[in-house]
């Protein structure tokens, strides 16, 4: 009630200095950059993207070629993180492994979030029997454990990046629908949506013009958070032997391959673990940072 930042004395059109409409965006950016965890998170993700992108330039070795005479070396000048049982440079495989993890996870997350957002918005605005039926079906999908659903899809369709993207979309879209639907239901009864309805606007324009811009923050946070889960799920799948096929460099697969030799060359397992953990920490911190950057505003509005 007495929040100074909300102190709006006076009325009327006086004192309208130039103030760009990008203020909200800029404020978001500012609160993001001021939050150390958010910057660390975004930095970690960016670092992973760069490393994966420039992997071929950063390492002289091939990620897949076997060199049996170099097998099971500890960390040294030539192989910073040592080599695995087949003599492949661990660091190289970790760097290339980022490519697989990032591309597949990003594609899968994007599909799940896009589909989930679309369905979530439509069902929130349509309501009625459509909403009831969809939520019931989604509840049934959620009732099947993600890893089982994933395994069933992979079993039926065979492994491969495209199948994994599809499978992850099926598994995670329902959860996105729930989150987005809840957010859209929060916006739907607000007066500016009512004004559009009173004008007699159709569902799609209302969705695009009035609802979506106001839940973009929810969707963005959902994306970052979901991405971290997807990275974990896909690496688990690889670890179990149903994701990336050997000799593809993949972090989950690497842990699984080098687990038995853990006592001899711990870095062959620890390096991919570290890579995986830092990427997921980065995604989680980004999600936190984003939600805080917007969440703070939300708290202010309600005070």
């Amino acid at each position: 009630m007495s929040d100074p930042s909300q102190n709006r004395a006076g009325d009327g059109g006086q004192g309208a200095g130039p103030a760009p409409a990008t203020g909200a965006l800029r404020r978001t950016l500012r609160s993001l950059t001021r939050s150390t965890p958010a910057m660390v998170g975004l930095g970690l993700v960016a670092l992973h993207v760069l490393l994966a992108l420039f992997a071929p330039l950063l390492t002289p070795y091939s990620p897949t070629a076997n060199t049996p005479d170099q097998a099971l070396l500890g960390p040294g000048a030539d192989h910073w993180a040592g080599t695995d049982a087949l003599g492949r440079d661990v660091l190289t495989r970790v760097l290339y492994g980022g490519q697989y993890a990032l591309v597949v996870s990003f594609a899968a997350t994007a599909c799940a979030v896009a589909l989930g957002t679309l369905l979530g918005c439509v069902t929130a605005l349509r309501g009625g029997w459509f909403d009831d039926a969809l939520m019931r079906v989604l509840d049934a999908v959620l009732a099947i454990p993600p890893i089982l659903a994933l395994l069933v899809v992979v079993t039926v369709l065979g492994a491969g990046p495209a199948v994994i993207v599809l499978a992850v979309t099926i598994v995670y879209a329902p959860q996105v629908v729930r989150v987005v639907r809840a957010a859209a239901l929060g916006v739907a009864p607000l007066d500016y949506v009512t004004a559009a309805r009173a004008r007699g606007e159709r569902t799609l324009p209302i969705l695009v013009r009035e609802v979506l811009p106001n839940i973009v923050n929810v969707v963005a946070v959902e994306f970052a958070m979901r991405a971290s889960w997807v990275v974990l799920l896909i690496s688990s799948l690889s670890f179990l032997g149903f994701g990336a096929n050997p000799p593809t460099p993949d972090w989950g697969l690497m842990v699984s391959e080098n687990r038995t030799a853990m006592v001899v060359v711990p870095w062959a397992s620890l390096a991919p673990i570290l890579a995986l953990a830092t990427l997921v920490v980065g995604l989680n911190l980004s999600a936190d940072g984003l939600s805080k950057a917007w969440g703070v505003d939300r708290v202010k509005e309600s005070s």
Partner: protein, 623 residues
């Protein structure tokens, strides 16, 4: 402090002049941390309250009045801190107390009643337990505590004291919840009661009852009260002395009578002058120096054609009948006010008119200035109406925070309906939008801003501009000024009045504030439980005689005038007693007797007949 050495009620009721102040705030400053910088919310505020006295802290939003109230209990919002000064309550230096001392202070000496009891009561606890908790610090045995709870519940006027203590908060009405909050505050017999907007969330009638209760109890118990309010009517009714705050500073502090009759500071004068009075015969216009003139109401010409007619409109929500057989008409350039408490169906009716919910039965028609006179059907949803009919009825909303899309700049908000209704082409739309923004007395330079960069009043103007974009004949204004500060409210009301004159607009003006209605409306329809109980020209309705429900609404209005003992200053001037019985024919209405449902008082003033045996015309007491 134990209970034994506390002064008894009788001891506390000594003469005011000889008393030590129980509350003393001395040059208090509070700052709020925002974006790395300290912003001062309260600057060097000082005031005192003697034992048994009620001091009101009054101000508009952002004045820091609630922050001051919190410090009396040693409570600050997250992120705020005291940067200077002293707060003394019941002889203790509140700001110097440690956690234990604070707990003790709150348990025994000072209690708070907040604005919204619905949020202040713990939803998962029975209310008896919640009241009983306040008694825990007194160290009474269980049986005695429960005895006290029952007597407290009875004392604050809650029905069925035995049964109600077993209820949960959500099972009570708003007024009952506030009574529970008061019982909770009084349980430990505090010396100081802090009331932070205690009735703002309530209907007028409930508000009047709660204020009576508080006034009675604090008299009886000799409480020292600090009342925080934005409502000068409430302040006039309750306070002995008033502290006026603005932007964190005290601008004036005086006895209630002195302040209301001879305010010294220009801001106080301005504030007082901005409050609409139920006795005004038009809108008040306030000069920079706080002078007040009442703008004469522009009469609607006798020959003004009807633009909207509603016949026997009924609207159901499932099995609940929200609107029950309403027949009303609206003429060109006329302001028809719909008045009633929440749940009376006034908003439902208005929203139906705007096309958001088709009526269950009855007819609603819109008449054009040309055409065959049959008019266009409005008994459909917005999408069922032709575009040209749709744009003729537009909505303006109550809540400035949600009426505009926060992601779209002001110009977009106005441009969209222009484009949607095909009233401007791509090249002309910006020019039209700017004109509209200027029409609502906003600087066109604001058109590139987002809603959050505007003040509440500015946003409300944009909402009005958006409604005007369709070039409507009727604007449905749903509590458009309710959430605004009084000074802003006055300017928005003046704008609406100007627009109506310039554009020959008709308004359906929904409000629960009778003083506002008196200022702006030509005709008034009082609604209760989905029905119109009284309808007529504004002066006729305000002069009476009235339906008992209308009388009760009017009696509950609090005027910003300290009239001996209480500020309820709106007894109908020429009230004649009506019994409502069907054989009664009031003077001056020759043909009133043959209608079984209505008493016609002439001049379009009619009153629904009621059961004279039931109290207040069969109005169930919900509070």
């Amino acid at each position: 402090m134990s209970t034994a050495d506390r002064p008894t009620t009788a001891d506390r009721r000594t003469d005011a002049a000889s008393r030590e102040p129980v509350v003393r705030v001395d040059r208090l400053s509070v700052a709020y941390r925002s974006g790395g910088a300290d912003v001062t919310v309260v600057r060097e505020v000082s005031f005192e309250a003697a034992a048994g006295e009620t001091v009101a802290v009054v101000g508009e939003s952002g004045s820091g009045k609630s922050t001051v109230a919190g410090t009396l209990l040693g409570h600050l919002r997250h992120g705020s801190r005291v940067t200077g000064g002293r707060v003394e309550v019941a002889g203790r230096d509140v700001l110097a107390l440690d956690a234990r001392g604070l707990r003790n202070l709150r348990a025994t000496d000072v209690a708070l009643v907040g604005q919204n009891a619905g949020n202040a009561l713990t939803p998962s606890m029975r209310i008896g337990r919640q009241i009983e908790e306040s008694l825990l610090p007194l160290g009474l045995p269980r049986g005695q505590r429960q005895e006290r709870v029952r007597s407290l519940v009875a004392r604050v006027g809650l029905p069925d004291p035995v049964g109600i203590v077993r209820r949960y908060p959500h099972q009570l009405s708003g007024g009952q919840q506030q009574r529970v909050a008061i019982a909770m505050a009084l349980a430990a017999e505090p010396r100081v009661l802090v009331l932070d907007e205690p009735t703002t969330a309530l209907d007028v009638v409930t508000q009047a009852r709660i204020l009576d209760l508080v006034a009675g109890l604090s008299d009886e118990l000799g409480l020292t009260s600090v009342l925080v309010s934005h409502d000068l009517g409430v302040v006039a009714r309750m306070a002995d002395r008033v502290v006026v705050m603005r932007e964190g500073e005290v601008v004036e502090s005086a006895g209630t009578t002195a302040l209301f009759t001879a305010p010294e500071h220009a801001y106080t004068r301005h504030l007082l002058a901005s409050v609409p009075r139920i006795s005004d015969h038009g809108l008040a216009e306030v000069g920079e120096d706080g002078t007040r003139t009442v703008r004469a109401r522009r009469p609607v010409p006798d020959g003004a054609p009807e633009v909207v007619s509603m016949r026997d409109v009924t609207i159901d929500y499932g099995s609940h009948r929200a609107v029950d057989g309403v027949t009303l008409g609206l003429r060109r350039g006329e302001v028809l006010a719909l008045v009633g408490e929440s749940g009376s169906g006034k908003s439902t009716l208005a929203w139906s008119l705007a096309g958001l919910r088709p009526p269950t039965s009855g007819t609603m028609r819109l008449f054009g200035d040309t055409g065959d006179g049959a008019g266009d059907d409005l008994a459909t949803g917005a999408r069922g109406r032709p575009l040209d009919v749709r744009r003729r009825i537009q909505l303006a909303f109550q809540n400035a925070d949600t009426s505009l899309n926060p992601r779209r700049i002001v110009r977009d908000a106005v441009r969209r309906p222009l484009r949607f209704f095909g009233l401007a082409d791509r090249s002309g739309v910006d020019g039209r939008a700017h004109e509209l923004i200027r029409d609502v007395a906003l600087d066109p330079a604001l058109s590139d801003r987002l809603p959050e960069q505007l003040s509440g009043g500015q946003r409300q103007r944009v909402g009005i501009a958006r409604a005007l974009a369709g070039d409507p004949r009727v604007v449905v204004a749903d509590e458009v000024t309710t959430a605004l500060d009084v000074s802003v409210q006055a300017s928005v009301l003046a704008l609406l009045d100007d627009l109506r004159a310039q554009r020959d607009l008709a308004f359906v003006f929904i409000s629960h504030d009778l003083a506002v209605v008196r200022g702006i409306a030509d005709r008034v329809a009082v609604m209760r439980e989905g029905r119109v109980v009284e309808e007529g020209p504004v002066d006729a309705v305000f002069n009476g005689p009235n339906h008992p429900y209308t009388s009760r609404l009017m009696a509950a209005v609090l005027e910003p005038e300290p009239v001996g003992g209480g500020g309820t200053a709106s007894v109908p001037e020429e009230a004649r007693p009506l019994t409502g019985a069907s054989e009664e024919v009031p003077a001056g209405s020759p043909e009133g007797a043959d209608d079984p449902d209505w008493i016609d008082l002439g001049g379009g003033h009619r009153i629904r007949r009621w059961d004279p045996d039931a109290p207040d015309g069969a109005i169930a007491d919900a509070t």
